[in-house]
Amino acid sequence: MVAAIKQPGWIRGALGAILGAAFGFALVVALRKASGLPAYQTEQTGYPQVVVPLISGPLGFLLGFGCFDYWLRWAAGMPTIPEDHSQHGAKSWKDYFRFNTDHKVIGIQYICTTFFFFFVGGLMAMLIRAELAQPGTQIVDAATYNSLFSTHAVLMIFVFVIPVFAGIANYVLPLMIGAPDMAFPRLNALSFWMLPLAGLLFIGSFLAPGGAFDAGWTGYAPLSTGAPLGQSFFNLGVQFAGASSIATALNFLVTIITMRAPGMTFWRMPLLVWANLSTSLLVVAATPFIAGAQFMVLFDRALHTNFFEFAGGGDVVSYQHIFWFYSHPAVYIMMLPGFGIISEVISTHARKPIFGYRLMALALIGIVVLSYSVWAHHMFVAGMFSWLRVPMMITTLLIAVPTGIKIFSWIGTLYFGKIHTYSTAMLFALAFIVTFTIGGISGVMLGMVPIDIHVSDTYFIVAHIHFVLFGGSVFTIFAGIYHWFPKMTGRMYDERLGRVHFWGTLFGTWVTFIPMHWVGMDGMPRRVADYATQFGEWNLLISCGAFILGAVQLVFLYNMIVSWRFGPRAEANPWRANSIEWLVSSPPPIYNFDEIPRVVGGPYEFGVPGARHAIMAGEGVEAPAKPEPTVVGSS
């Protein structure tokens, strides 16, 4: 028992959480007693005896779990414990439940954790659609309904879409650039372990008096500053998710810039690497803004700082400016990594070089730059300085140009190729082009101020965001998971079940989200548990679509679990792809490469006689004089 407490792990982690929370609680009570105040404060927004332990408890867990052991020993001048084998690689499922610094283990930890939250958030969506199937309130009351859609959005955005991309990139990106691991493996592990804490804080808010946070994922002040205790869970959860996100982005930046294999110039990087470089540039600069916005709300709630309290001299609209200065770039944080995945999948399965590779990379950078200048298009009716609407409209419409370049280039890649559609990944990639085009078109319409005035805060917005986030981001996530499943697990998934999942998801997406455009334009506001009876039939159809969409995800879950355990063994390169991760065994060996590969050409040289992307160790020093069509895995 004593040994278990000394070892980093779950027992010490639980102890750390309890001690941390107890310390925070005691600190609040002691300080309040010393100030002559009652020990507890149970005003609607205050509860310092809960809020402070919510900070110190998770930190205690991270300390106890071993996230800081190496750094603390080093800082204290104690002998550090060198990396033993137990911190790298995973031999059994138990290794995924430990502090592990291997980027491949962390990648899988990320993906499984985020998909857990995807299914929890999805269940909430099912409850929401059950309530909305008919006008009037049947299943949940209005306050619970507000909590449900707020938590649904927050789980999907902060602990599913954003981090699942970090998970996929964590696994694939170091392999792709020929690196043995990420630049900062311990920071990488810490980034991951902050994520479940964020998710648990979001879900745990249902236990708070007054219910879970219910001011929407946007948490506009002053609704959020006056909301019950659950809102503080949101404010703090965002801090953990945001810190995780920022640390990972820094890690990616340093990894991409400094750890590319010799010969991999910027113009030889696969587009997935470009996409994660761009995303990381957005995350490091924009995410501090939402952290700041949520701290300001928390301070308004707990310390009465009056940032957004108009009666105390605060400015209500400024919350939205700070929030959207992060949250619009966040839309691209949720989309650019997906663009990278689509480029890999389409090029590989069309057996063609990416059409206009350099323009594709430049378009990503263009989106990064423009996306910082469009945030106020979320505020066309918010009462901000009215002149600002026109420049923000122009930048918003212009950002459609680099996005259009990407769509056209993917289609251009298909021409004169040999398109294979046996892989579910390719089906999702092709369907993504269609659904994302629709999401992009409704986005351009929303960018136009006169149209936006009519449809903002209606179901048209709900339709648009689900077309770009579900039809867009989630389709790319599925494409990525199917594409790299053989590499990650060493097993093949069942393509037949993959097809069922694909067609069900495509059908469900369209039936669910297309009619939402119509009811929104016709006058149905968003975020309402009850609505006018004239929208009843459409909403019933939407709910049926949503249930199909929800049910078919269980096919995906079954396919992944069963294939991971029992699927046929995957070869090193089942898709005959070119990039480096396919040149090592499936799954790759610990530390990825016996010797760092040498990059000798572009990543998408399909059909070019004799072209190679990389030369693996032991393949000879000189590039072969005789052309070889493809490189078979080194194992």
Binding site: R351, G383, I419, V434
Partner: protein, 263 residues
Amino acid sequence: MYGRLPIAKMLAATVALTAAISAVMLPINWDGQAASTAAPKIDDLLSVMIVLSSFVFSLVMVMLFYALWKFKAKPGDESDGEPIHGNTRLEVAWTVIPTIIVLFGAGYSWSVLSDIEKPADNPLTVDVFSQQYAWSFGYPGKDNVWSQGELHVPVDRQVQFKMHAQDVIHSFWVPEWRIKKDNVPGITTTAIVTPDKLGTYQLICTELCGFGHASMRAKVVVETPADFRKWVAALPEKVPAPLADSIEQDTETNPVPVGAGGA
């Protein structure tokens, strides 16, 4: 090499598909009934966008499905496609043409926006007060009377709404008028509308404001000027002092805050 593609046929298919989609979508009245001078202008903008969007969508679909039909690999074909890396003229074209289209859209939207927000000479000013979960309306005049839960305006006269929120943000939306504006605590926001059809409509709160948000509605009556004058004259109550005091600096149109030398 692009000479091998049936460009003319693909363009014809794109135009045909655009025409077909537009023919289905244009006759539908997407935005519902129109009851203000701004509504037809916004609906026209939407119609133009529907045609342009149908074209873009059709172009993408024709290009995509032609490729999927023509370049699908035969079973057992393990060879690679042709090593084409790009085409500068094509890439310039699909950068420049969309830029022109969106800039046209921006210019058109801007002109519609300035048109529908142009102040008239003799507008009627109505104060809108919102709170969880009710609307009330203040009318000018020596008594500064107010109405709870029911908004009346005369037909064919521009109305300038000065909006104030008491507690949290609410949003004022009358779908038939196509106008929406947030009511923000601490500042005054403005919306301009000229109702041009008699009738009864619904005012809907569109900014999440708490558990009563879905039912935060008010009745809107557009009536003849004579009926309107009679209705206002019969209003019994005066605007309560705290509401009247809440009318503050309008930071929406004048960026200089109170006390900074403005107004």
